[in-house]
Amino acid sequence: MGAINTPNGFNLDNSGRRVVVDPVTRIEGHMRCEVNLDDNNVIRNAVSTGTMWRGLEVILRGRDPRDAWAFTERICGVCTGTHALTSCRAVEDALGIQIPENANSIRNIMQLCLQVHDHLVHFYHLHALDWVDVVSALNADPKATSDLAQSISSWSRSSPGYFRDIQNRIKKFVESGQLGPFMNGYWGNPAYKLPPEANLMAVTHYLEALDFQKEIVKIHTIYGGKNPHPNWLVGGMPCAINVHDTGAVGAINIERLNLISSIIDQTIEFVDQVYIPDLIAIASFYKDWLYGGGLSSKSVMSYGDIPDRANDYSASNLLMPRGAIINGNLKEIHEIDLRAPDEIQEFVTHSWYKYPDESKGLHPWDGITEPNFALGANTKGTRTAIESLDEAAKYSWIKAPRWKGHAMEVGPLSRYIIGYAQGNPEFKEPVDKLLATLGLPLEALFSTLGRTAARGLEASWAAHKMRYFQDKLMANIKAGDSSTANIDKWNPASWPKSAKGVGFTEAPRGALGHWIVIEDTKIKNYQCVVPTTWNGSPRDPSGNIGAFEAALMNTKVEVADQPVEILRTLHSFDPCLACSTHVMSPDGQEMATVKVR
């Protein structure tokens, strides 16, 4: 290839050493990443590959549309509820079903709860170890750690004795040789910048967050009837409300509503007193590591979510911002239309699928998912043991979705950039405050760190919005409305012969859409375009690179065979490729295999 310029403004050069990371660890699903480094160890070309085939769409053909949510809930080990919600909305859109206000409030609480939970777990259990050195925490002074913790937050668990106990527990764990979750780390790498005390504080909160996250999901258990796979319903929510009910099973009663209320309060407290202060403390040591902006300063998109009133999905009724920004012009926010055949299209020129004409993209309603695994002429290795891929040919199981031809970044940072550009104080003020605290300019937001920070701010936003909808629900119930479902169109005999619908949400990791075609009461076509398809997409026919590839560009790697910087940036997107299964991981729970060629 040599050097080329992409239409979306990146200069690619694949002549330097090739570094291959496969699998990328601490993500959901299977992903491979290849980069070329120049003589100064700076990334000059990036190739992101989804190594797992997503085929949920095809197994839904011929099934009952009312059951689709239950299948989509099994796509992934994390965003179960988000897929189910999106699926319900797609069917409701197709059949013109209106849901009751209470169902809208409960769905919003479920969705916001998933946002907070996912962001918290991502930050502490999947991403923090890219910034926090666990082994260094063993050298921390517990007293100094206590001073540090008390200087940044009023959180009560911060005594020297508490940190000493945790440190001893970690020490015992590490000495037992069972590193477990801490096995996948490049401990001691010079890219780690935190002092031992900040490391100990963060590792302590890793454990506290692990302990606390189980409280948050009780909300899913109550409103969804069970967890980990909560129940959903086309037309509303499958939970009955009866405030006077006293039994231990059955309807949502006042006792359960109060329990949820109390969990929401605890969640707000934990996020605002632990997560946000930790985020600021960690970021303050990485202020000069502002790599990873990629597409965020150019093209971002959000479908919007969290309808204030039920059944109105227009931008003005969505509390989570909706719109698209292109070419970095924050002054203009474009409306997006998920139904327009020429707006959202998926391309497969570099994906292992077959289209009749691959120079064109297909709108999801017309989507085709037909596998076609073929490697380019410049692939090195064999087809089952690939040494390096040929990115000039097909190289990923992820399709390349584009909005009006543009590669777009999606996720919390995109949502915050759009909210900021709209001048919405709920998004602008926390960003300005955070940047002022860290002494950073607005440009710093467009970075790996910005992505991680936006996720934290959004966790706080979502926790507070849960309170808003819980209060709204309680008020509505008190006013005498206990309806949670509309079953007027439950009977397929009431449906038209054919119907098309689209459902969308903002999943924790970005814009999610399900497109459904119903014919003779059965599913004729079903296509999911998931956030990681947007962010992790390969190139398109015009040569535009996707968000992962763009974000890796021009990053300096300290140690070529310990690419913590690559993991840092990829993890900042909270990638989720677990769209079908977790099988086929190589022997044991090994570290990311890194090969330098």
Binding site: G77, G180, L210, R383, S580, H582
Partner: protein
Amino acid sequence: MSQKKVLILGIGNLLWADEGFGVRAMEYLHTHYQFPDHVQLLDGGTQGIYLVQYVEEADILVVFDAIDYGLAPGTLKRIEDGEVPRFMGAKKMSLHQTGFQEVLAMAQLLDRYPEHLLLIGVQPVELEDFGGSLRPEVKAQIEPAAQLALTYLAEHGIHAIPRPQLQADQTPGHAALHLHDYETQRPSAAQACRIGDERFLGRIQYEPA
């Protein structure tokens, strides 16, 4: 002894043929037997880290899963207590091990590791059949696997009572995913491609580019 909290956990992805063994075995126990209140049955799916809160609460943990132990397809394997993490670290055993091994390690880190742990695994026959169900050899191991679990629980003083009639309507999970509907309502192979991951597709003949 009978007050110990027990968790019977089925893990795996229902949508990938024999990958669904763990969940189906748990479903079988639920539909055929009634357990005391301190026994919880859970369809863990592919949840990984999100299962830690269930695992840490258990004194006795019984896990059903598809395992790759290099055995003849359809072979049942019983692994107990200390053997579980040891084998998990040494060799790929559970097909979800990246997820579930981490769950066990996290429970240990929280100092709440189950006192007794039994893993009942089966070597899969077929995984490369997306949207498919269990193969006959694996399906035939559900009942013996359930018996292993019942025997183990009885040794710990926990006795399940056979249900007079099958608990058909209240199985955990959505009806469309229950074995009968799942199998009978499947689209045909002509309608829906049934192969998946490139490591599977790699075994299929194709024309080099």
